[in-house]
């Protein structure tokens, strides 16, 4: 089990009263997100903010899935469906609400919205609309999670996987077939009664014309909140219940833990955050909200992030999300090892290895071999006209299989980033709990 105990607040216990302590991380989250959006963003070259935005959304998704897959050990294959539900709900509210309130669907937000900060006031009513829409999307997704989870979480692992997969497909087909084109005439929208509007969510073409509210601020605000919530959950009594369910469900039941109830709770919380991620995703520039893209493939993308990072490790999932968000772009154009930044990164790796590894020579040799293989593949690929990006899914699949065979606990297993013993001591480290139920 991880070393840290529940009362991390020991450090600040005496300084601040209880209620403030609970809220403090969220305030810090807001501050950090603002910093990112305002101060860091202008310093970055053009393409970066988009990448960091993507990473943020994937972090939310991966961490929320960890709550279900990692903490409770239940295998949910339909996470993207909750994302879709949240996305469409938020999109509908923002789009039609925007028409009703402002007469069109442009971005009326203040400085905090939009990938490029708009000039003008800090935050406007439109931003509140966006926030409200996001939260509503999350709530609706949570309700769906409840509805789906309650009957199916009584089933064993394999069946739950199939049922969630089926649910994902059902959501997709329903959205694509039962909704029709969005309205984009202010007059018509004003005239249509509110309860009829959910029909006009775009149908197969997807929801077009959404205002692009998503910004680094919003995404990372929610990303940090998700991280904090996940961490707190893991360290709390709830978290212990979850982890015990993961270890051995029957024993947990024997210990008096109502497993179904806890599993449903984890499911609902995860669905909530997935819904928020969906809402953020829908309003990103350059995204076309389309139910067909939020299907099993997306679920699989999230699953591979969770598995790679280590089922049950929050920081692992976040790190894996970051890596896997950047990977497709990397594969388009794998950088040569001689490229200055790449070389720098490799030198850094070599240094880390030199300091921390036990068998230094062996580790260095392995590093060099890995570099050689990478460069060799890259050269061969470009000379042969083979585009590595095509093989991305194959690489993922092979990586997944190899991971399961060779290192099933993923990158970090159940541990968190700060729990890893970076420097070996004389005493052997505590025995790690094996992955999987």
């Amino acid at each position: 089990m991880s070393e840290s105990r529940g009362d991390n607040s020991r450090a600040t216990r005496g300084l601040l009263p209880g209620p403030v302590r609970s809220i403090l991380p969220f305030l810090v989250a807001a501050a950090l997100a603002l910093l990112l959006h305002g101060a860091v963003r202008p310093l970055l070259p053009e393409f970066f903010p988009r990448v960091i935005l993507d990473i943020g959304i994937n972090v939310i998704l991966a961490v929320s899935l960890t709550m279900v897959n990692g903490f409770t050990g239940q295998f949910s294959l339909g996470h993207a469906a909750f994302m879709a539900v949240g996305a469409y709900t938020a999109a509908g509210i923002v789009y039609y609400g925007s028409y009703r309130l402002f007469g069109d669907a442009a971005v009326h937000g203040g400085w905090i919205s939009g990938l490029t900060p708009a000039s003008g006031s800090f935050a406007t009513g439109a931003d509140m609309l966006f926030l409200g829409a996001l939260l509503t999307g999350g709530l609706v997704a949570a309700v769906c999670g409840y509805v789906v989870g309650l009957p199916s979480l009584r089933l064993r692992g394999d069946y739950l996987a199939i049922v969630t997969l089926g649910f994902g497909e059902i959501v997709r087909v329903l959205i694509q077939s039962q909704t029709t084109d969005t309205l984009y005439d202010a007059q018509t929208i004003a005239e249509t009664p509110v309860w009829k509007l959910p029909q006009y969510l775009g149908g197969p073409v997807g929801f077009t014309g959404l205002p692009f509210y998503t910004s680094l601020f919003w995404v990372w605000l929610f990303a940090i909140i998700t991280l904090v919530v996940a961490f707190r959950l893991k360290e709390s009594t709830y978290g212990r219940a979850f982890l015990s369910i993961r270890e051995d469900e029957i024993a947990a039941e024997a210990m008096g833990i109502r497993t179904t109830r806890y599993k449903v709770r984890a499911f609902v919380i995860a669905a909530f955050f997935a819904g928020i991620a969906g809402g953020l995703y829908a309003h990103t520039i350059g995204i076309q909200l389309n139910a067909g893209e939020l299907a099993f493939m997306k679920s699989f993308d999230i699953i591979i992030m969770v598995v790679l990072g280590g089922m049950g490790s929050i920081s692992g999932a976040a790190i894996a999300a970051a890596i896997l968000s950047v990977l497709p772009e990397l594969l388009r154009n794998p950088p040569s090892v001689l490229h200055p930044l790449m070389a720098g990164l490799l030198v850094l790796c070599a240094l880390v290895v030199l300091v921390f590894a036990r068998g230094k020579v062996r580790a260095l040799v392995r590093l060099v071999v890995a570099i050689g293989i990478y460069e060799g593949i890259r050269r061969a690929a470009s000379a042969g006209g083979v585009n590595l990006a095509d093989y991305r899914m194959i690489l993922y699949a092979i990586a997944l299989i190899l991971m399961m065979i060779l290192r099933p606990q993923g990158l970090l297993g159940l541990r968190e980033f700060w729990n890893i013993r970076w420097v070996r001591r004389n005493t052997p480290p505590a025995k790690e709990v094996k992955a999987g139920p």
Binding site: D158, I162, F167, E169, F300, I394, M404
Partner: protein, 375 residues
């Protein structure tokens, strides 16, 4: 009649799922991809055998190189295992690692060679004018190659995970499934272009029962072949020694091995059998629906999934249940499509809905028996 034909296809695939589940207690997600592979292999095989006058294809030289390489590897492994290892162990006075690759490799190589031979046979039959017989041989070919694939998958990916927690195996199965799908989509394999399977039967309607039920030759062939295969399987599982071994392993692997059954071999055999049935389903499917589509997002994966639903509904782990489940799902789909106003587009939802209903009320399926989990 369509419903029964499609239902029997589902049944064939469901059998594979159910057998693997019975023995290893896990759902082999990659199974539906073996089905797709079977369909495409039949297509390629038919092209090579010259059954389609519009399309000329031949066995690429790479096949021979691969086979040669396999035989060479098998030979080297055999030499190592049988000659070098004992000798060197004695010399160096310690035990060298002893992988049993030579057995596996030679099996794979032999199987591959026989498959190529069968393909030539099909070619000969086709040019001699026995189109129908050539079709049957193509079926055999598809079954063999898919069986081989099933064998390789099992050995390479599932065997190392025999003792791992179920979740890991599930994830691996998904990984294998995606691997197969995406390899199939590569341009140098099958590509993403849809294509057309040469039909081996003339288009003939045999008779009509009432007004709505048309019985076509194709359907009869599909159902007939499926029934034959299922009967053979039934006989295999319930009346032969190997079948008894399979059933024993599905009850309890440790006890079976205590009784002298080679559990590894039985498991491999089960996988191969399931894969062969899936391949047969693929071939029959390509006969019934000659336009072949490849993409992962298309209805093919869904088909495999529905077959899994069929297996569950019939009672997973139960062979006769799988057959029944397949039929039920086929009929359900058909009736929903015909008699509900918007039915055709919603039939997927109904199938999954049926799954959820069954899982809620009778998780062990129609013919299954509920097993209480013992601690």
């Amino acid at each position: 009649m369509d419903a029964i034909a499609v239902g029997s296809l589902y049944a064939l695939i469901a059998l594979g799922y159910t057998m693997v589940y019975g023995i290893l207690k896990f759902i082999n997600f990659a199974h539906s991809d073996v089905f797709v592979l079977g369909a495409w292999l039949s297509f390629v095989g038919a092209g090579i055998a010259g059954l389609d006058p519009a399309r000329e294809a031949s066995i690429g030289p790479w096949v021979f190189w691969v086979l040669a390489a396999l035989w060479a590897a098998a030979g080297i492994a055999a030499v190592y295992e049988l000659v070098l290892r004992p000798a060197l162990s004695r010399r160096l006075d310690r035990r060298l690692p002893a992988p049993r690759w030579h057995l596996n490799l030679s099996l794979v190589a032999a199987w591959g060679s026989i498959a190529v031979g069968v393909l030539h046979l099909a070619k000969g039959a086709a040019s001699a004018g026995f189109g129908f017989a050539a079709g049957g041989i193509i079926l055999l070919l598809a079954m063999m190659v898919c069986g081989l694939t099933g064998f390789c998958i099992e050995r390479l990916t599932y065997k190392p995970l025999r003792r791992a927690p179920r979740l890991n195996v599930l994830i691996t199965a998904i990984g294998v499934s995606l691997l197969l799908q995406n390899i199939g989509q590569l341009n140098w394999m099958f590509g993403t272009r849809p294509d057309r399977m040469p039909t081996l039967l003339p288009e003939a309607e045999l008779f009509t029962i009432g007004t709505a039920v048309r019985v076509r030759l194709v359907d009869v062939m599909v159902v007939g072949t499926a029934v034959v295969l299922m009967v053979v399987l039934d006989w295999l599982v319930f009346r032969t020694k190997i079948g008894r071994a399979m059933r024993a392993v599905s009850f309890s692997p440790p006890n079976a091995s205590l009784m002298g059954i080679n559990v590894d071999r039985v498991i491999s055999f089960t996988f191969v059998l399931g894969a062969m049935l899936a391949a047969a389903a693929g071939f029959l499917f390509s006969q019934k629906y000659p336009g072949l589509n490849q993409t992962a997002a298309s209805g093919w994966v869904l088909l495999g999934l529905k077959a899994f639903v069929a297996a569950v509904i019939g009672g997973i782990g139960n062979i006769r249940g799988a057959m029944l489940g397949g039929l039920l799902i086929g009929l359900l789909e058909f009736f929903v499509a015909q008699y509900l106003p918007d039915g055709a587009s919603l039939r997927d939802i109904f199938v999954f809905g049926a799954l959820i209903v069954v899982l809620l009320f009778k998780p062990s399926g129609v013919l299954g028996k509920s097993a209480t989990e013992k601690v």
